[in-house]
């Protein structure tokens, strides 16, 4: 018989660096989940992505057991890395302090495809480009579909 799902939690934690501190501690601990076990598993599974902020979707069950899926890094994090920006623009809609190329947008879109609600790379690229603009990043050049 399938186990009874008690709920879901979406966290973002740095790879290889989960510890009993918040949010793991209060979020999982309040559900009666053994947070030390979660940390050990998460760190072993993400040790090759040490330091990267990773989204993780935790499913917890009525019997206090849990499972989790580690997703690809958020588009915003990948964009910041691509633009090599430490801080974004001080006025996102007017001052473009950083830029990314369409090739970089495509690369990020392809990385994100497994997690995005997009059927084609082009659709995923439009979503990533939208995120870039919201962050004050200029997407340089012409979109492939406009060329």
């Amino acid at each position: 018989m399938a186990k009874e799902i008690a709920g879901y939690l979406k966290l973002q934690i740095k790879g290889g660096a989960a510890n009993p501190s918040p949010p793991v501690g209060p979020a999982l601990g309040s559900k009666g989940i053994n947070i030390m076990e979660f940390c050990k598993q998460f760190n072993a599974r993400t040790q090759d992505k040490a330091g990267q902020v990773l989204p993780v979707l935790v499913t917890y069950y009525a019997d206090k057991s849990f499972e989790f899926v580690v997703k690809t890094p958020p588009a915003a994090v990948l964009l910041m890395n691509a633009a090599k920006l430490k801080k974004g623009s001080s006025e996102p809609n007017r001052v473009k302090v950083g830029s990314v190329s369409w090739d970089q947008v495509k690369e990020i879109a392809e990385t994100k495809m497994p997690d995005l609600n997009a059927f084609t790379v082009e659709a995923a690229m439009r979503m990533v480009a939208g995120t870039a603009r919201s962050m004050g990043l200029k997407v340089e050049g012409t979109a492939p579909w406009e060329a």
Binding site: I13, G16, S21, G25, G29, M36, Q47, P74
Partner: protein, 275 residues
């Protein structure tokens, strides 16, 4: 105060963006909720000015509000700890909390009240380490438990007849918790706070046990070897079978010879001898 918590109300499309930006201001983890998300930063890493700047910048383009509060560290694992089941390793070892009544006798009994430290026997790696320890003669040996957590493996070493056992952990809570567990088992085992590089042991050890994780083990391997006698045993765990090759890249040049490994699920415990 140990942590700074930011509670952010925002639209879903700005959640990930704000989290990416706040990660640059010292926030290391986030939890989504219906209104937006909460984020946490360790006090030392938190950058108040950078946080204000990020939030002001995005407030100009989307509807958002936030507040920053201080959070004290507490035992968030308490809920699980007060209900945990005892663990048995074959007919040899029983690991139990002080509130458990054991129905039969075991050669080795370990009492553990975990208090947010790792090592209760519920995880495969703890059980694998104990199984490996059962196959090594501890009589009259000097043993070091690296990254002791609850102190469970140090207690096991003492039960197996070690002459001297020492332990350390980087985490303050683990140091306090292992002390409590040593007392609970009527043992006096020294426990230090820090990393292996910060330790200054009087004599090298015959047996060194470390259940941590692959990256830390690889990083600290040289220091483990510096604290071992020739012919000494090294027991490692906290990683998967596929990580053994990466571990061996650092152990082989240091003169550590792999003897065997045992596994449970994907997890392994590996036994080395220092030549």
């Amino acid at each position: 105060m140990e942590f700074v918590e930011i509670k952010v109300n925002c639209t879903p499309e700005f959640g990930d963006i704000l989290q990416a930006e706040l990660a640059e201001a010292g926030f290391s983890s986030f939890l989504d909720n219906e209104k937006g998300f909460d984020g946490w930063a360790e006090v030392d890493a938190y950058e108040a000015e950078a946080t204000k700047e990020v939030m002001a910048r995005y407030a100009a383009m989307t509807e958002l509000s936030y507040e920053v509060v201080e959070v004290e560290k507490q035992n968030w694992n308490e809920e699980w700890e007060k209900n945990y089941e005892p663990i048995f390793i074959g007919d040899q070892v029983a690991i139990h909390a002080d509130f458990h009544q054991l129905e039969k006798d075991f050669p080795y009994k370990i009492a553990i009240n975990p208090k947010m430290s790792f090592g209760t026997g519920h995880h495969q790696t703890t059980r694998l380490m104990i199984q490996n320890m059962l196959n090594i003669d501890h009589q009259q040996k000097r043993v070091l438990d690296a990254g002791t957590g609850t102190g469970i493996l140090a207690i096991m070493a003492q039960l197996l007849g070690a002459a001297e056992v020492e332990s350390y952990d980087i985490d303050e809570w683990c140091v306090e918790n292992s002390k409590e567990n040593y007392a609970l088992n009527n043992m006096e085992i020294p426990v230090h706070q820090g990393t292996i590089a910060e330790m200054n042991f009087e004599k090298p050890f015959d047996i060194l046990i470390a259940n941590i994780n692959r990256n830390v083990l690889v990083h600290e391997m040289k220091d483990y070897v510096a604290n071992m006698v020739a012919g000494g045993h090294l027991l490692l765990s906290g990683f998967y079978e596929e990580d053994i090759a990466i571990i061996e890249e650092v152990t082989a040049p240091l003169g550590l010879e792999k003897q065997s490994f045992i596994k449970e699920g994907d997890w392994v415990s590996v036994h080395f001898i220092l030549k």
